[in-house]
Symmetry: none
Subunit: 231 residues, 2 copies
DNA sequence: TATTAGATCTCGCGC
DNA sequence: GCGCGAGGTCTAATA
């Protein structure tokens, strides 16, 4: 990876046309040929960029460009889409290269998966007499985290989140609507289980007849056999 | 902006939980407190990040962490959402800071806006005798891209997309339903106009009596006066 | 390989 | 402030 801090202007032409006026920016060149142009603010999205696979050429400026103060011209092209990004560099304030190697990549959902496993083992946290049917119960629109039955044998669908937000309630609502059409399951009671449930999510859930259960991760972990073996 | 190349592991907990195993990465700290963790590949999206507004603290590792080889612990928190990002740093390979100043920002010319302008100017692409009523015709649920009248004076509502997908047909359907309740407009004919129309979208549109028109962007641009002045 | 639905979406506009 | 629509969306999973 090469990092360059430079005064530059940038032009992009492809699915749209865009221009960045002269200013100081970070140019990040990745080893796959891609390039990112970042300012010192905003979110994770660069001001401009070119996605791989693409090719970059480092050209000398022509006379007109030299007269304007341009010292280097980088041209990045993506052959498939005919996109082109041109970086016109005036002054280079920093330039360094680094070997990073390939990244092992992001592991998602560690805590949520663990919560699901623990709640399946401690299913009576949902209420006395509850029994587990199965985890990741499959429906046409995706798996419900946990399917259980209450003391009376009625179906209970559980959606588990680390943080209970409105979109989680919406997700559970979609599952419930579908499952309640199945005569083998209906009526299905919904349970929204999370370490923390936002007031808006709780209100929405209650409005839809969905029960909210706050999970104590540390307490659940303390009761878990496989965890206690670690100590 | 501060750029750090370091061996590090990263943990995020917020709307989801995620973990990055130990590897060499770029840590970009922006002046608004936000942080981006980039690898030497992939797209413009960082492996992990924290969006502003957020606060960062640089802590000393505890004994357990020190024994594991951790030399610094960065904790980035977003107060509003309770998100937290923890960067555990082992070795620092590069560390530099740079003044970038505020960026003038990106100037862009979107394709959809341009398509709308061009179609308004070349409204007879919808059929002989068509006349423009107005662009961005306002309804209670949002603006219809173009309102026109056909050769017989009947209202025509046009939804323009770069890529014609099912959701675009749904959007137009909602507008038509509303507009057809207005005695001044009814009956309103629907036209779904796009550079490319997906087969499923076309089928749905036809099923609902909505006409499909494929737009040739380059041809339309070639006919446009303001563009031809450039040559 | 193409299509579809989700995203820690982001970004911008209108209210 | 929130909600909605668009994005050079991107990205992963699936047919």
């Amino acid at each position: 990876m090469r990092l360059v801090i430079a005064n530059c202007s940038v032009d992009y032409a492809g699915r749209l046309s865009a221009h960045l006026p002269l200013a100081t920016r970070l140019l990040m060149l990745k080893s796959d040929g891609s390039i990112l142009v970042h300012s010192d603010g905003g979110s994770y999205k660069p001001l401009n960029w070119m996605s791989p696979p693409c090719y970059i050429t480092f050209d000398e400026p022509d006379q007109t460009q030299t007269d304007a103060g341009i010292t280097q011209v980088w041209k990045v092209t993506q052959k498939k889409t005919d996109d082109v990004l041109v970086v016109s560099i005036y002054d280079v304030l920093h330039d360094s290269s680094h070997e990073l190697g390939i990244d092992p990549g992001l592991q998602k959902d560690g805590v949520e998966a663990h919560l699901q496993k623990l709640l399946a083992e401690q299913i009576t946290l949902l209420g006395d007499g509850h029994t587990l049917v199965r985890r990741e119960y499959m429906t046409a629109i995706g798996p419900v985290d946990i399917l259980a039955r209450d003391s009376g044998g009625a179906a209970v669908a559980v959606e588990i989140k680390r943080r209970g937000d409105i979109d989680g309630v919406e997700q559970l609502t979609r599952y419930l609507e579908l499952m309640n059409r199945d005569p083998h399951l209906s009526p299905v009671q919904g349970v929204f289980a999370a370490q923390e449930i936002k007031p808006q999510a709780r209100t929405l859930a209650q409005d839809r007849g969905i029960r909210c259960v706050v999970l104590d991760y540390d307490a659940m972990r303390g009761l878990d056999d496989s965890d206690s073996r670690l100590f």
